[in-house]
């Protein structure tokens, strides 16, 4: 999710019955970013993917 859509993602999680659903935030916008910039952004957040995927499910 880009930073401009954090509140939208939070709301969608809420209305879909998954309040607090975790997601990774990266910079906005990406449509005008270069390939190098996109790669750098991906590298910055890649390490958090494992944390999100392996996090124990909250009840």
């Amino acid at each position: 999710m880009t930073e401009k859509f954090v509140t939208a993602a939070q709301l969608m999680g809420q209305v879909l019955g998954a309040e607090g659903y975790p997601f990774i935030v990266t910079e906005h916008p990406f449509s005008s970013a270069t390939t190098d910039e996109l790669g750098a952004r991906a590298r910055r957040v890649a390490h958090t993917c494992g944390d999100h995927l392996l996090r124990p499910r909250s009840t």
Partner: protein, 350 residues
């Protein structure tokens, strides 16, 4: 007054009319304009007119699986100023929007900022006082304005489609306040939009389209159908260059002054659709002419059509008696959302 047993909505009592307005505004239940208090009697009158029980499930929003009942829609219709006789059109409009190909969530949440355009056909237009002539794309009459507003209030109050919540529109456009129109079937040489899409010449129906703002054009210096349509095509191509290249439902609105030229030349709606389908095409390389060279990706000669096929062009007869104008109404985002037409009074779950 006793709350009818069938209504499930919360009941709130107020001492004066102004406090009603302020309460609804403060809860974010309005579009900023005053509302008509949705009293149990007014809501029940809408339901009775349409012959719907309060708990009737009009449809389910596909992404969230949220059901919209007749009662909740009636509450919003009353708030928007609808009379009971307007309510069947509101219900049909909501049902059409909930059809899966319409992609209601995507089209109402997108930064693109489309509005819901409603086109009403059939006898019900006249029964409820819709006017397809003067100011056809604006507030032409009470029914059009209130029905369009009711749909917007339904989106906000039942599906959280409010600015900054589900609605992420960068700009939006004025059609998001209310956008409902009738087709001028009485002064048209053509079959109606509803007959074309449903095959029934006598049906009352609503077509919903996720639509960007109308682009007005003018060509009153020819009687040649092809030249007239070339102006419409130029506007469609401009939209493809400047906004979105993807093919989808475009609507074009043709007023009486231009319709007479098509009639004199014997052109049907189908002839118009076929001509526009063939002519409304651009090359991807044209993007470089308007600052979008970065996404041409070496595919300069790749051709893109505005319409997936001729039937995707919604040809609408409407407008005041004088003026050689026209309007092109582009789709939100190609064919991701497809226009949906539904007959008034059709039951979708029985």
């Amino acid at each position: 007054m006793t709350l009818p047993a069938t209504l499930q909505s919360n009941r709130i009592t107020f001492d004066d009319p102004l406090s009603v307005q302020e309460h609804f505004h403060s809860r974010g239940w309005t579009d900023g304009l005053p509302i008509v208090p949705p009293t149990p009697d007014a809501v029940t009158a809408c339901l009775d007119w349409a012959g719907l029980p309060a708990e009737h499930l009009v449809g389910v929003e596909p992404v969230r699986g949220r059901g919209l009942t007749a009662e909740k829609i009636a509450v919003n219709a009353v708030m928007a100023g609808c009379l009971p006789m307007h309510f069947p059109v509101v219900v049909t409009a909501v049902a059409a929007m909930l059809a899966e190909p319409f992609l209601l969530h995507g089209s109402t949440a997108s930064t693109g900022g489309s509005a819901i355009l409603l086109i009403v056909n059939g006898p019900i237009r006249n029964e409820i006082g819709m006017d397809a002539t003067f100011n056809a794309l604006g507030p032409s009459d009470r029914a059009s304005t209130c029905i369009g507003r009711a749909v917007r209030l339904v989106l906000g109050n039942l599906l959280e489609v409010r600015p900054g919540e589900i609605d992420r529109s960068t700009f939006g456009h004025p059609g998001k306040i209310s956008w409902c129109m009738a087709e001028d079937e009485e002064h048209s040489p053509w079959i109606s939009l509803a007959e074309e899409r449903l095959g029934d010449p006598h049906v009352s129906a609503v077509t919903a389209m996720a639509a960007m703002a109308p682009r007005q054009l003018m060509n009153e210096w020819t009687t040649d159908p092809e030249e007239i349509l070339d102006t419409f095509v130029a506007e469609i191509k401009a939209n493809m260059r400047h906004y979105s290249i993807w093919a989808g439902n475009y609507a074009i609105v043709i007023p009486p002054q231009l319709r007479q030229h098509f009639a004199a030349a014997g052109w049907s709606k189908s002839d118009i659709q076929n001509y526009v389908f063939e002519q409304a095409r651009i090359r991807r390389g044209e993007w470089a002419d308007c600052g979008k060279g970065a996404i041409v990706h070496g595919k300069d000669d790749q051709e893109y059509a505005a319409l997936p096929d001729p039937s995707h062009l919604l040809v609408i007869a409407a407008g005041g008696p004088a003026g050689g104008f026209g309007a092109v109404i582009p789709p939100w985002l190609g064919h991701k959302s497809r226009a949906a037409t539904m007959a008034v009074g059709a039951c979708v779950d029985c």
